[in-house]
């Protein structure tokens, strides 16, 4: 029973979150071919999204490094890695915004088909999660600057890390199911 309240609470919450994304992924798979005659999975640009996915996955590494620095009480290095993590998150989000724009121009409109609705809502909710993660990272950055986060409070970095890794893992699933496998499934 040595787990801190807050950490246990975060684990419980993340358990719930897995089912949240599970629901949207299921709906997406169900509507893979319900394009109402419009644009389908062929619109995806796998090389482009692979790069932004790679950036997001690497941000998990910098998150671990931030937490590691904090456990050693090295707030300077912790801040550096936190900024790096947030920066990579922003690159990913920028990629998603760009991608949404391209898809929209190529005719994938949310209100056109169940497929489009399922795609935008699933990836959109993931984007919202990344955004909240960035907000938390920037917050802990500022709080550590003004002395609100102390060197011995590495649990706070760890909790943000838990959330951030969760968002990453979910993206691994979404990237596989939405971008990689459908090519095979529709063929």
């Amino acid at each position: 029973m040595g787990v801190d309240h807050r950490k246990l609470g975060m684990w419980a919450f993340l358990g719930s979150e897995f089912l949240f994304f599970g629901g949207f992924v299921t709906a997406y798979l169900l509507y893979l071919e319900s394009t109402a005659g419009g644009v389908g999975v062929e619109v995806f640009d796998i090389p482009f999204t692979s790069i932004s996915s790679f950036v997001l996955l690497m941000s998990s590494l910098t998150m671990v490094l931030a937490h590691h620095a904090h456990t050693r009480g090295d707030l300077r290095r912790m801040r550096l890695w936190i900024l790096a993590t947030a920066g990579q998150g922003m690159v990913f989000l920028g990629g998603q915004v760009y991608e949404f724009n391209v898809f929209y121009r190529e005719g994938l409109v949310l209100t056109d088909s169940p497929f489009a609705s399922a795609f935008y809502v699933l990836t959109g909710f993931h984007g919202v999660h990344v955004f909240i993660g960035i907000l938390m990272l920037l917050s802990i950055f500022v709080f550590s600057l003004i002395g609100k986060i102390k060197p011995n409070q590495h649990l706070k970095t760890e909790m943000i890390g838990l959330y951030w890794h969760f968002v990453d893992i979910i993206w691994v699933v979404i990237f596989t199911v939405v971008y990689l496998i459908p090519e095979i499934a529709v063929l």
Binding site: A36, S139, K156
Partner: protein, 639 residues
Amino acid sequence: MASSTVETKGFKGRPKGESGLSAWITTTDHKKIGIMYFVTVLVFFFLGGAESGVIRAQLAQAEMDLVTAEIYNQVFTMHGITMVFLVVMPLSAAFFNYLVPLMIGARDVAFPRLNAFSYWVYLFGGIFLYSSFFLGGAPSGGWTGYAPLASDAVSNMAFYAVGLNILGVSSLAAAVNFIVTILNMRAPGMTFMRMPVFVWMSLVTNFLLLFALPPIAVALFMLNADTVVGAQFFEPASGGDPILWQHLFWLFGHPEVYIMILPAMGIVSEILPTGSRKPLFGYAAVVFAGAAIGFIGFGVWAHHMFTSAIGPVARSAFALTTMFIAVPTGIKIFNWVFTMWGGKLRFHTPMLFSIGFVSMFTIGGLSGVTHAIVPHNAQQHDTYYVVAHFHYVLFGGALFGLIAGIYYWFPKVTGKLMDEKLGKVHFWTWLLGFNLTFGPMHMSGLLGQPRRTAVLPGELGGTVELYNLLSTLGVVVLIGSALVFLFNLIRSIKAGQAAGDDPWDARTLEWITPSPTPSHNFDAIPTVTHRDEFWHRKYAEDDAGKVVRVPAGASEDHDTDHEGEHIHMPDPSYWPLVQTLGVFPLGYGLVYLNFWLIGIGVLWMVIGLYGWIIEPLAEGDDDEPEDAHTPTGAAAAAH
């Protein structure tokens, strides 16, 4: 007993009110929050009851036009939403709040401010839903919100989608809170198999909430997108699948049934042993049956969809799992009966309501098993037989159990007993009114009366009409009975007989504390050595195996070497309330697709969250190593 110093308030930067309004709106005390849940539930119960009055008045005779079909649809939809989400679930939450920390020997929940947050979100979510009556009409697509009717503007379901999501946030936060509380904050010696059954059932219920809420959140977001933005999730015209809604809804909806019944089961599992002066028969069986219900509860949802296009294999599989889940439920019923068997029964009001629970719930359970039989189910689907069934489990079950709990713990909360004579009048009229209202629905349903019709069709004949008249008379009895209850409640608060600390000769830890419970709960955190700890402190067996009372002062609950112990209680806070007010702009923004309102709501809640984060903490920041701040006692001791 008053030798310990209790520092609850007074740290700079945190509110200090100890009485009056500000003490209530800033409170982080689990007991006050529990009372606030209870009072709010009474208001919503009145509204939901008034709606059922309109329904029964309209159906008293065939072909009546007391209200228009539009109004009728709004009223029966809001009746369902109110009773499920604004009455039974939060009434269970009221009991979790008041009792769980007391029963496990803790001073508060794991996250006191989050607990206040849950309450305010619930209150504002309810107000938000009801505001729809003044903003173009309440949702009218049924509480199950079946697409594609629900995604059509005619049924006004945007308020339903957003409102239930708001309430879901409240339940999710509470679920995380209580899971952590129960797992982490038990008093020393309180192992899992020594926990009171109510705590066990709370744990199972909150795990059910944790995993059942995401599917409905997904479904509601999709519905929200369909109704407000024009997404195509449930639009058959463009290839959308309305069955997807049914799957997602019932993947939540069936665990929800157990979310509503398990707390009541926990309550009667506390009252029946006390009223029978016997330990609960088969404690382990009751606990494991509860956990089994939790697991199997996620595998039976499609029995709500036997008449939808789900195919014969799915129908057979779900028919089997549905029959299977009757087994652990049956185990519990036998355990309750054998708890009473051979006991020295005392028929006080809580005991009467508990026995009412067991018997009425059994009737509802039996009609439930008939739903598992697929051909039979096809015959009953969308008839009043189903309405009869779920009212027997939710009204005859959950509500009877919860009312038993109100009578049972009222003395702990107020220090006064509720009037027994009025309590018995309440019980017998409640039982009569309930059976008169919902019993005939079995018959009228089997004779073909459909659900959700604004008018009782005259062609169903005089027998069905008679059954409906009986149901309406039953509601009149129930209204009278509810007034007796309300009168009893108010009069007992004002002038009830003093209860003392342990009026029922009870068995669990909350009765160690004085009545009403002081804000710090326990002067010293008890060390638990037995299941039914308090009973074992009061009674021992002599050489002949007879139960004898332990002489006063001999038991360890009277030790007073905690003089001068410094108890620290969580400080009150404005922030949960302030932050939660942001759900209004956010909610209306989502209903009317106004990005300004959404932006204001999100910004408001984020700023509120920062206020919450940077608020000073009297106990210092709690990231210090555990041993540096042991005043919360229970948490540290449990590690």
